[in-house]
């Protein structure tokens, strides 16, 4: 049977992708940020997951205002890096796992979550930057990413976005779905976005390190309470774009302790300011 083995949480700032693609990762501005992922790269190389269920948001790339799904599950064989206006990132395409994705669709919709099923979409920095941060070795268009990726896009751009509570419950449903899939697969679930940042208006540039860290403490120790944090707290304390953090609750909801098992091990934790306009947060939790 398939199993969820760990969850990974990280910001997905587009400037990180640009810095990597332009060979700037050793510059003084960027070095401290990438150092925060050194452990993660070797950890992931040891873990060797078969599939990563990657929760991210589309930033007006695949979805225009013609249609914005709240929860979109990538069903396809392959998803290409998008051209977001600066040209596509020179990174490999993502290969999906249509069998597991179809199983998750069947299970999760029957658990009352109305997912949109997507066979064709390009994936933007929200998905490719976390892969670049976590995977060791040369980037560039080759070799391929070392595992299959099921993209899961959440609307956090057009309000109202799903509540933290809804996201947390969805993560629990995804765990149940994975655990009933017959193939022998190690599956990780990644929640991305955040942490505190605001990209608009006179309050642009807001960072709230103290709130970020307190929120991360609660996400680790008491995720059910964390899931009850209302939207307005994210907006007020972590900036209008800090609301992306609700996506971390999907990954957290998929951990064993939420289903009655043991508390996860905190394998790694990192916070860094600034990265362009944003506070970068990163966390790895292992099921024990």
């Amino acid at each position: 049977m398939a199993r969820v083995t760990a969850s990974v949480y990280t910001s997905h700032v587009p400037a990180i992708g640009a810095a990597l693609d332009q060979g700037k990762s050793d510059e003084p501005y960027w070095r401290p940020l990438f150092r925060g992922y050194d452990f993660s790269k070797s950890w992931l190389a040891e873990q060797r997951p078969d599939v990563v269920f990657l929760v991210y948001n589309d930033h007006a790339t695949a979805f225009s205002l013609d249609l914005i799904p709240t929860f979109a599950l990538g069903m396809g064989e392959r998803f290409d890096p998008a051209d977001e206006g600066w040209g596509p990132r020179p990174v490999p395409p993502v290969f999906g796992h249509p069998g597991l994705a179809a199983h998750i669709a069947q299970s999760v919709i029957q658990q009352d979550f109305d997912l949109t099923l997507v066979n064709r979409m390009d994936v933007d920095h929200g998905l490719t930057v976390p892969l670049s941060l976590m995977c060791a070795g040369p980037q560039g268009a080759d070799p391929a990413w070392p595992f299959k990726v099921i993209p899961f896009a959440v609307n956090v751009v057009q309000y109202p976005v799903p509540s933290g509570r809804r996201c947390f419950q969805l993560g629990q449903a995804i765990r149940r779905a994975v655990e009933t899939f017959d193939e022998d697969l190690d599956v990780q679930i990644w929640g991305t976005g955040g942490m505190s940042h605001q990209l608009q208006g006179p309050r642009a540039g807001l960072i709230n390190r103290e709130w970020d860290n307190a929120w991360m403490d609660q996400l680790i120790a008491d995720p059910a309470a964390c899931s009850r944090v209302p939207h307005i707290d994210y907006v007020r304390e972590a900036g209008s774009e800090g609301i992306e953090l609700v996506m971390w609750l999907i990954a957290r909801g998929a951990m064993a302790d939420v289903a009655g098992g043991a508390a996860p091990k905190v394998a790694h934790r990192f916070h860094h300011v600034p990265c362009s306009n944003t506070a970068v947060g990163h966390l790895i939790l292992e099921d024990t």
């Binding site: 640009a18 007006a60 205002l65 206006g85 057009q158 109202p160 309050r203 307005i232 362009s276 306009n277």
Partner: protein
């Protein structure tokens, strides 16, 4: 009955909700069109003519021409869509975000290097933080613009 929108008392912040999204539909779709190279070329060659091809309001067109992102957002624009306009102009997210504060690019970058904008005084409208209406513009860029107009 008016629905609850508790985010309206956050200073210097416009939440892109369903109502703003409806207002900004064509403005944002115009921005999306700039993801295609041929459209970027047509827009750059004649901005007014290109904008006339979209059923936007005159105020939205004027805000785009002026690259006034605060005004674009007030009129229903969303930053992730407006980023396509920024990309067309060769500007980064940091340059775009900074342009909404009245700071110069250097001033904004230095604020971020110092750890970003503080939350203190910037949680609720009516406090005294640097994002509050009575403290705009925040930097030399805004002050220069004021002198010019």
């Amino acid at each position: 009955m008016a629905l609850e929108k508790p985010y309206q008392d956050v200073p210097g912040t416009t939440i892109f909700d369903a109502e703003q999204s409806r207002k900004g539909y064509w403005l944002n779709q115009f921005c999306m069109s700039l993801m295609k190279a041929e459209n970027r070329a047509r827009f750059k060659a004649d901005e007014a003519a290109y904008l006339d091809g979209w059923p936007m309001t005159d105020a939205q067109r004027a805000a785009v021409r002026a690259r006034d992102l605060n005004e674009c957002i007030r009129l229903g624009g969303n930053i992730y869509f407006l980023a396509k306009l920024g990309a067309t102009d060769g500007r980064s997210f940091q340059q775009m975000a900074g342009s909404m504060t009245g700071m110069t690019e250097t001033e904004y970058r230095e604020m971020m290097l110092r750890g970003g904008r503080s939350i203190e005084g910037n949680r609720f409208v009516g406090e005294d933080g640097d994002a509050q209406a009575h403290r705009q513009p925040q930097g030399a860029a805004g002050k220069t613009a004021d002198t010019e107009t």
